[in-house]
């Protein structure tokens, strides 16, 4: 395993290259494009035997990838924000058709007003789409999760979205340990399961009567639920195989006696880690819960780690209008009946607004103060 200094985009591209993707469908969008550029260079340099399909929109990019996947090819795409929204229709097709597509998403804020800055709103908009969603804390997470995503997707026949934040991760250099190609090839055996067969033609995505639709959705949801078992198992195997430390569903940091727990997903986890260390030095019993998997929602894994907590501050770099932060809403729903917990959802860092250690510290103080309204999301940094 060698160590390199690469951006998040390069980590995503390298993960896809190590997985030996066979088809890449892509339409240029910022900040996802460097991953595509890197992959196209691998193809041009003949380091990767992959068909790059250039299309006229993100909708077509995912449609091309979906068709390739139905034919049995290992397929990948990258996008973000408006591109992901344009893909939405096909995203639901891909999930309903149970195709093991992996997609990198360089999270960016949604228009309007137009923004090119990081935020998780685009991923959250796909929360009901049936895609498994990973959130990466750093560039190491991106490469680890991308490789694992192919294994999980192909095992469950369910698409996986690997989220990493635009610029904060996509354009920032970090040290990354790169797994050996031979080992990755063994870890990701190519097990083609084509739905299209020219010798036995069938109609895919046929009109389905009420007699069958519910059953299809039930089976799809069962696969999503099963992911809660598959994801930690694959992470464990990966860690063993590559001597890595990748996260399963969730990961606790300094939770042993923590009375106050910060919960977050994505790049803000590493900022919160710094604050936890700082406050621990001051003697405050505070810990951090990193949520890697948002869909399916690992309710039990999260609650297990919140058992000893009194205060919970959930950091959301997204807003579901009229409801609050997506992660906080899910955690509040999951903890129904756990009256000992004071859960405060915090909205911060929208559209690239600064959300450093100071902002998270403000959120922590706010949760413990008496004027904190537990029934609505608090906005930090206004």
């Amino acid at each position: 395993m060698n160590k390199v200094l690469i951006t998040g985009s390069e980590a995503a591209a390298l993960g896809a290259k190590l997985a030996k993707i066979e088809v890449l469908g892509y339409y240029p969008i910022t900040p996802a494009f460097p991953a595509m550029e890197r992959l196209s260079k691998y193809i041009d340099d003949e380091e990767l035997n992959c068909k790059f399909i250039r299309v006229e929109s993100d909708h077509s990019a995912l449609a091309a990838v979906l068709g390739a996947s139905l034919a049995g090819a290992r397929s990948y795409t990258v996008t973000n924000s408006q591109g992901l929204l344009l893909m939405t229709e096909v995203a639901y097709h891909a999930a309903g058709l149970r195709q093991p597509i992996v997609m990198g998403v360089a999270n960016r804020a949604l228009s309007a007003p137009h923004s090119r800055f990081p935020e998780q709103g685009d991923a959250v908009s796909q929360g009901a789409s049936g895609w498994i969603q990973f959130f990466c804390e750093n560039n190491q997470d991106i490469i680890d999760n991308t490789i694992q995503a192919f294994r999980i997707a192909e095992e469950l026949r369910n698409p996986v979205m690997v989220n990493y934040e635009g610029y904060i991760q996509s354009h920032t250099l970090e040290e990354v340990y790169v797994p050996d190609q031979e080992k990755v090839t063994v870890f990701l055996p190519l097990n083609r399961q084509p739905a299209l067969d020219i010798t036995h033609p069938r109609g895919v995505n046929t009109v389905t009567s009420p007699e069958f639709y519910t059953d299809y959705k039930y089976i799809q949801n069962e696969a999503m639920t099963e992911a809660l078992n598959v994801i930690p198992r694959v992470a464990e195997e990966y860690n063993k195989e590559f001597d890595a430390e990748s996260c399963g569903l969730v990961e606790g940091y300094r939770l042993e006696d923590a009375e106050h727990v910060l919960v977050a997903m994505g790049s803000i986890v590493s900022t919160a880690r710094i604050l936890v260390d700082e406050l621990r030095k001051e003697g405050k019993k505070i810990g951090l819960l990193k949520v890697k998997v948002w869909r399916p929602f690992p309710a039990k894994a999260i609650l297990d780690l919140l058992q000893k907590a009194r205060y919970v501050t959930v950091l959301d770099k997204n807003i579901v209008f009229g409801v609050g932060g997506a992660l906080a809403t899910d955690i509040k729903a999951a903890s129904y009946g756990q009256d000992n917990l004071i859960i405060n959802g915090v909205i911060l860092g929208l559209g690239g607004r600064k959300c450093g250690v100071d902002e998270i510290k403000e959120a922590v103080n706010h949760t413990e103060s008496s004027d904190s309204d537990k029934n609505r999301s608090e906005w930090i940094g206004l």
């Binding site: 033609p201 069938r202 109609g203 895919v204 046929t206 009567s209 007699e211 069958f212 059953d215 299809y216």
Partner: protein, 92 residues
């Protein structure tokens, strides 16, 4: 309730929707004549799709034309609506 045994990728045989004689997916129930002697021929007029006809053998229902509305079973004895799909059944 048993979950139906369905293909992982939602799919069907070619032509299963339109041309095939079992193109009945729009119908949840279909009318069946249980007692021909009791069927009131007025249902020939009530059927909005002209799916019911009369020949030398008696009254016939065309499942190619029937959309499963159930008017005939409501208006006449000797016809009952039966579920189109029963039990864990898969591809149509």
């Amino acid at each position: 309730m048993a979950v139906k045994n369905l293909p992982i990728v939602p799919s069907g045989d070619p032509g299963a929707l339109a041309e095939a004689s079992n193109a009945a997916i729009q119908r949840i129930k279909r009318p069946e004549i249980t007692d021909l002697a009791k069927v009131n021929p007025i249902v020939l007029l009530y059927c909005p799709d002209g799916a019911i006809s009369l020949d030398e053998n008696g009254i016939l229902i065309s499942y190619k034309l029937c959309k499963g509305c159930g008017i005939c079973a409501k208006e006449s004895e000797g016809i009952v609506m039966v579920p189109e799909y029963t039990g864990p059944k898969g591809i149509f």
